[in-house]
C-alpha cells in the first residue's frame, strides 16, 4: 500500500480552498441571471473567516451532540472528498473506500446534522431534520442505482477504477446508460446540496427551510465549520458527477504539467456544472415539499432505465 502524502495534501488543500469559491460562483451567477449585482465571488471565504472569529451562543438545552456535529460534518465531507478522483485519475485514498464509502460518509454527516437540529429543542430544527432525512431517504435509491449502473459497466465500486475504466477502450462516451444515469445523478445532486427546486438555500422563512432550519441555532466557529463542510460536500458531489461521467483530462501521471492540465480541465468541468445548477435554480420555482418525491422518483426511474439500457445495448 503506498499512500502518497503529497497527493493527499494537495487534494485536501484543493477541497478546502475550492469549495467556498464554487459556492460563491453559483451565488454570484445566480444574482447576475436575476439582474442583481450579487455578492462577490470571494464572499464565502470572508463569511467563513468572519464566522470563525465570532463569539458563540449555544442553546442551554443542547448536549455534546450539538458540539460534535460541526466536526463530524466537516471531517466526513473532507474524508469523502479524498476518495473521489478530482485532478488525477487516482484519488489519494481510494483504497480506503469507493462510491459506497463516499455515500456512507456523507450520510454519517447528515445523521449528526439532523441530530444537531433536534438537540436545541426548537421545533424549527426538528422540522428541518425530519425533512432532510426524508428527502435523503428517497434520493438515496436513485443515487445508488445510478452509481450501480456505472459500477457495473466498470466492474468496480472504486471510483478511481471507474474513472480508469472509462478512459480505457470500449467505453462509449454517449452510452445511453450513462446519459440517463447522469440525468438521475444531477437531480440527486440538486436534492443533496439543497438547491432549488428541492430546497432554497437563500430562504429566510423558517417554515420553508430544510437545510438552513437545522443550522438556526448554530453560530460562530461551529457555523463556519458547517457552512464550509456543506460547501465541501457540494464540491465532492460535483466532482463525482464531473469525473465519472466526463472522464476527460484527468492527470494520468504525477508530473506538474499533467497536474496543471488536469486542474484546468477539472475547473472547467466544475464551471459547466455550476452553470447548469444556476440555470436550473433561476428557471425553476421551489417545489412544494410533497412534490419533491415526484421529482426524485423521476430520478429513480431514469436510473432504472439507465440500468435496463446497459442490458439492452450490449
Amino acid at each position: 500500500m503506498n499512500l502518497e502524502l503529497p497527493a493527499i495534501l494537495v487534494q485536501t488543500a484543493l477541497l478546502l480552498l475550492l469549495a467556498p469559491l464554487l459556492s460563491g460562483l453559483i451565488k454570484n451567477w445566480k444574482a447576475k441571471l436575476q439582474n442583481r449585482r450579487g455578492p462577490r465571488v470571494w464572499q464565502p471565504y470572508f463569511d467563513v473567516l468572519k464566522f470563525l472569529r465570532k463569539d458563540m451562543v449555544i442553546s442551554e438545552h443542547a448536549s455534546w451532540i450539538f458540539s460534535v456535529t460541526p466536526y463530524v460534518l466537516f471531517l466526513t465531507a473532507l474524508a469523502a472528498g479524498l476518495m473521489v478522483p478530482m485532478v488525477t485519475a487516482r484519488a489519494p485514498l481510494s483504497l480506503f473506500g469507493g462510491a459506497l464509502a463516499v455515500v456512507g460518509l456523507l450520510a454519517l454527516g447528515r445523521f449528526f446534522l439532523a441530530l444537531g437540529g433536534l438537540d436545541p429543542a426548537s421545533a424549527f430544527g426538528g422540522m428541518g431534520s425530519s425533512r432532510e432525512m426524508t428527502i435523503a431517504a428517497i434520493a438515496e435509491p436513485a443515487m445508488m442505482l445510478a452509481v450501480f449502473t456505472v459500477a457495473i459497466t466498470a466492474g468496480s465500486t472504486n471510483l478511481s477504477q471507474i474513472v480508469l475504466a472509462s478512459q480505457g477502450p470500449g467505453w462509449k462516451f454517449l452510452d445511453p446508460a450513462h446519459v440517463l444515469a447522469f440525468a438521475a445523478m444531477f437531480v440527486v445532486l440538486l436534492a443533496e446540496t439543497g438547491r432549488i427546486p428541492v430546497d432554497n438555500p437563500a430562504t429566510h422563512l423558517e417554515l420553508t427551510m430544510i437545510h438552513e432550519a437545522m443550522l438556526l441555532e448554530y453560530s460562530g466557529r461551529y457555523l463556519a465549520l458547517i457552512e464550509w463542510g456543506a460547501s465541501i460536500k457540494q464540491l465532492v458531489l460535483m466532482a463525482l458527477l464531473a469525473n465519472i461521467f466526463f472522464p476527460v483530462g484527468l492527470a494520468a501521471d504525477t508530473t506538474v504539467a499533467a497536474f496543471g492540465l488536469g486542474l484546468l480541465f477539472f475547473v472547467a468541468k466544475l464551471i459547466v456544472l455550476a452553470g447548469a445548477v444556476v440555470l436550473v435554480e433561476t428557471t425553476n420555482a421551489k417545489l412544494r415539499l410533497f412534490r419533491v418525491p415526484d421529482l426524485l422518483s423521476t430520478a429513480f426511474i431514469l436510473a432504472m432505465l439507465a440500468l435496463v439500457s446497459t442490458f439492452l445495448f450490449r
Partner: protein, 682 residues
Amino acid sequence: MNIQPATLLVAPLYGYVIGAVAGLLFMRREKLANVFSFGAASLSALSGVLAALFYLAGGVGTPAPQIELFPPLIPYIHFSVRLDALSAFFLMLVSLLGLAIATYSLGYAKGFFGRKNVGVLGAFFNALLLATMLVFVADNIWLFLIAWEIMALTAYCLVSFEHEQPETRDAGVLYFIMSHIDAGCIILGFLLLFQASGDYSFDSLHGIGAQMSPGKRDAAFILFLLGFGIKAGIVPFHIWLPAAHPVAPSNVSALMSGVIIKTGIYGLTRVCFDFLGTPPLWWGVTVLAVGTVSAVLGVLYALMEHDLKRLLAYHSIENIGIILMGLGAALLFLHTGHPVLAALGLIAGLYHTINHAVFKGLLFLGAGAVLHATHTRNMEEMGGLIKRMPQTAFFFLIGAVAISALPPLNGFVSEWLTYQALLQGFGTTESLWRLVFPLSGAMLALTGALAAACFVKAFGITFLAQPRSEHAAHAHEVAPSMRFGMAVLTTACVLLGLFPTAFIRLLDPVTQQLTGQQLSAQLSLADGLVLASLTEKTGTVSTLGIVLMGVCLLPIPFGLWLVFARNSKTRRGPTWDCGQRGLTPQMEYTATGFSKPIRMIFKALFQPRRDVQREYDFSPRFATKLRFESHVEEVFVQRIYRPLRILILRTSRRIRAIQAGSIHAYLLYIFITLLLLLLFAL
C-alpha cells in the same frame, strides 16, 4: 491445564441447567435467585463464547467435537450434540449475547423485586438460553425439534411474564400460535428429508436433496422457508414479532430479537446450504425477494412507531430482510455455479447476522434502561435523557449509528459486503433475472437511508432536547451491571466494525463447510487494514482507515480554532423562541411529527387514519379544545389476518355443533373415523 473443546461445549449446557434449578430453588429469596441464576447464565455463556472461538480460530480442518449427552432412553432419539463450523458460529452469537444480557439482567431484574418472581424469570431465562444453544448444536432431527419446542415454550412464558396486562397476554397467545405453525412446517419438512435418508442424524442428511425428486425437494424448501421464515419474522408472517418482542421484559426482548429470530436464519442456512443441494433458480430469487420486501416494509413500519421497543422490533424484521438478501444472493450464485461468489454472499449474510445480534441486543438493552428509568415505552414522553443518563445515551448512539449502516461501525461493513455480492451478481448470468441484483441493491439503499431517518428520530426524540414528561425529567442513570452489559455489546459493535478482516478469518471454516471456499485471504488487503471484495479492482473499503483519516484531518478544524477563534467566547443562551416567553417541551418536535413526511409520501401503503375533534365557541379557527388522533394499521393485519381470524372463529362456531356433549355421539365419531381409516388402509 489442557481444556478440551468438548468440555467447553458441554459446560454451558450444564451451567444453564444449574442456573435454571437455582432460580427455582431460591424462588422465595429473590436476591439469591437473581445472583445465582443470572450469574450462572453469564458464566455458561462465557464458556460458550470460548468454545466457539477456540473452534473457529482453529481454522479449517479442526475436528468437530461430538458428544452424546446421555444414553438414549428410546430408540432413534439420540441426545448427541456436535460443534461444526456453522454451529460454532451461531454458538458464538448466542453466547456473546447471552453473556452481555445475563450480566445486564443482574441489575435489570432488581426492578422486579417485590413485584414479580425473579426466580421464575431467571429459570426461564436459563432454559431459553439452553434450548437455543441446543438448537444450534443439535446433531439430529429429534434433538433439534425437541430443543426447538422447548425454545418456543420458554420464550412464550417469558413473553407472558408480565401477564397482568391484557396486551401482554394477547401478544403471548399470538406468539404461541405462530411458533407452533412454524414448528409444524419444520416437522413436515424434516419428514420429507427423512423419507429420503432413512436416518435422523444431520450427517446422513448432508446433500440429501440430490436423492429427492424435484417436487419433494421444492416442497421441502417451501416448508422450511415458511417454518424458519415465521421464526425469523419475514413479511408477511411477521405480525407476532412487533407484538411479542416489546411486551417481554427488556432483557428477554434483547435475547429474542438478537438471537431467537436468528434460529430461523440458522435453520434456513443449514437446510439450504447443507441439506438440499444445488438450488434451482427460483429459490434464490424467492429468498432475495422476500428479503427485500421484509427489509423495506420493516423499516417503513418502524418509522411509524413511537413506542421505542416496537420500533426496535420492526427493525428486526428489516435486518432479517437484509440477512436474507445476502443468503438469497448466495443461493443464486450456487445455482449459476459460482461458489466463490456464493461464499461472499454467505459471508455478507452471516456477518450481518452477528452484527444485527450485537447492535439490536445493545439497542434493546438501551431501551430497557430507558424504560427502567422513565417507566414508559412511549417516545413522546421522553427527551433530554442524554443529560440524565449520559452513558446509556452514548451506548444507544453507537447502536443507532451501527444499525443505520453508517461508517465506520459494523452495520456498514456487512451492508457493504451485501452490496458487493449483489453488484458482482450482475455479471454471473445473461438472463433477465440479473436485474434483480441492482434492484434489490437500490432497495437496500432505501432501507439504509430510512433506517438512518428512523434512528435520528429514535435517538433524537428520546435522548435530546427537553424532557417531555415528569418521568423523563427525573430519570437517573441505571445500575453498573446494566451499563456493563451494554458496554460489552458496544465494544463488539466497534470491534466488528473496525476489524472486519480479522473477523472474516473466523468465518473461513463456515464457508469451507457450506461452499467449499475460503475467502479471507482474498478479502483482505494491506495486512488486513483494507477489506476488498475478492480483488482490489472490484472495490475496497477500510473502516479503520477512515477512522485514522478522520483523526489525521482533525488538526484542520482545531487549527482553525486556534488561529482564528482563540479570543472568541462561548456562552449559553436560550433557544430562539420567536420572541415568545421561552420554549416549553410541548413546543418541541414530536416523534409522530418527525415521521409525518414519510407517512404522507407512502400513504398508499400506510393508509393513515386521523381523527380530529374541535370544540369551539364562535369559529373553528379559535378552538378551545382540540383532540387529535392518528393511527396507522398494518395492511397485512387489515387485509389478511383479521379476515382470517374472523373466518376461523366463524368456522369453529359451526364445528361446535357436532360437539354436543353426548358421549354416545363421540363414540360414534370415533367408530366412523376408525372405519374410514381402515378403508383408507385397504
